[in-house]
């Protein structure tokens, strides 16, 4: 299993979880896995929507104790 980079965006209002994910993906390699932690419930829909639109691979979305975990693999 590839090593997974955790992006702890809990409590991030600006740039916020999705923008932080987009930024971190730029500095990763194809095949790298990332997991975003967000306390913004909008992330549960916004981030998977963007992942599908751009074509990365969504691995998992789950909520634990008020924190959304969205995992993906960079595909390009």
């Amino acid at each position: 299993m590839a090593e997974r980079t955790i992006i702890d965006a809990r409590g991030s209002f600006c740039p916020g979880p999705l923008m932080e994910l987009i930024a971190r993906l730029k500095f990763g390699a194809v095949g790298d896995e990332f997991e975003v932690l967000s306390t913004d419930k909008g992330s549960a829909s916004d981030i998977p929507e963007w992942i599908h639109k751009v074509g990365h691979e969504l691995l998992d979305t789950r909520e634990e104790a008020g924190v959304w975990h969205i995992a993906l693999r960079k595909t390009k």
Partner: protein, 377 residues
């Protein structure tokens, strides 16, 4: 104790002055040494670049001699670090000197990298350096009409810049009497017009009112300069006559070369401001990988927290408080109105309607900044 600050930008300067005051007796007694290493003998007021691009400031207004901003107790040297040897608690500089430290603070900042996006540097105007801001001013000055597109890369310094430039361009062309010949089109990387939801909720209808069109979920993939088209990662395109970009940023090259963090951004604990895995290396400002705004106010408040904590380490043996993530950003909404957003790690912003009073306060702050850098405001 040897305290070494690497970087003479806003963060390093505020921190250095803060420490020099707090530790004045220890510095006089020779118990503490405070050294700052910088790549430049000049200090730039970076927010002024926006005004320079629009002909409302001139280059000379952006600079002061760095030494003139610093307290006497600081040993300031223009000699950039080339090698960080963190396991040995020392750095090596361009001139070949070695500096040992007990506490290291890295505040080297970030840099625009439009060249990361194919076609962007060659075909877009931007205002993140003096040279590009002057070039953009000349291009705007000669522009007589057409479609202006604002394209935003991530991560970027100054999260309010995309909104500020689009609203200021509206007034700029209106004042020149050619607003009816200019179409303004704004794009943004996520699903609303700004990362801060309350700001986005206010800004979108304001754009509607001013006749500014916008497209969200637009991440710049490449620019086709021959056909004047900017293409997004999401598969859409925007045609332009004049392309203006808020370019993506990276941390400084020295951070990447020393493998301290991906993209030149160093993994940092957001409340302790300590580099991950280190007990005596602190990171502030754009150099961190903390998901917080890359903005002057961010590092201003971090520097104040860290100044208090490092002084406490010297005097009491341990830091005394955690950082709360405070950010305060002015938002220029054209040539004569402004508002602001203030928030921290736990409290979201609640921006108020723009007023002339806030705009004039921002104009005053453009001058007052030099007192902030000196640690007085």
């Amino acid at each position: 104790m040897k305290i070494l600050i690497v970087g003479g930008g806003m963060g390093g300067t505020i921190l250095g002055n803060n420490l020099a005051r707090r530790l004045a007796p220890e510095l006089r007694a020779g118990k503490v040494q405070l050294t700052m290493l910088s790549a430049s003998d000049k200090h730039m007021y970076q927010p002024g670049l926006l005004y320079l691009a629009l002909g409302r400031m001139t280059p000379d207004e952006l600079y002061r001699d760095q030494a003139s901003l610093l307290e006497p107790g600081i040993d300031f040297q223009v000699d950039p670090v080339e090698t960080f040897e963190l396991d040995q608690n020392r750095v090596k500089t361009k001139s070949g000197k070695t500096h040992a430290y007990d506490i290291l603070v890295i505040a080297t900042g970030s840099r625009p990298v439009p060249e990361m996006t194919p076609g962007l540097a060659e075909n877009a105007e931007t205002f993140y350096t003096e040279a590009t801001a002057v070039k953009m001013f000349k291009r705007l000055h000669a522009f007589q009409g057409g479609r202006v597109v604002v394209a935003v890369g991530v991560p970027h310094k100054c999260p309010m810049a995309p909104l500020e430039i689009i609203f200021m361009l509206h007034d700029y062309f209106k004042d020149r009497g050619i607003r009816d010949k200019v179409q303004l089109h704004y794009t943004y990387p996520i699903g609303r017009v700004h990362s801060l939801e309350p700001v986005a909720k206010w800004a979108a209808p304001e754009m509607d009112r001013l006749g500014i069109t916008y497209e969200t979920l637009f991440n710049v993939k490449q620019v086709d300069g021959a056909n004047k088209v900017v293409k997004s990662e999401e598969g859409t395109e925007a045609k332009y006559d004049l392309l203006i970009t808020i370019p993506a940023h990276k941390g400084m090259e020295v951070i990447e070369k020393n493998k301290l963090g991906a993209g030149g951004f160093i993994p940092t604990d957001k409340t302790k401001l300590l580099m991950e895995g280190r007990k005596n290396v602190y990171i502030i400002g754009d150099t961190t990988n903390i998901p917080i705004s890359k903005a002057g106010s961010t590092v201003h408040y971090q520097a104040e927290t860290l100044g208090e904590n490092i002084a406490a380490i010297v005097k009491l043996g341990s830091p005394v408080r955690e950082h709360d993530g405070k950010v305060f950003c002015f938002i220029e909404v054209g040539k004569d109105r402004a508002t602001y957003a203030q928030f921290n790690y736990t409290t979201p912003p609640d921006p108020k309607p723009p007023t002339k009073a806030v705009h004039w306060f921002k104009m005053a702050y453009n001058k007052l900044y030099w007192t902030t850098a000196r640690g007085l405001l």
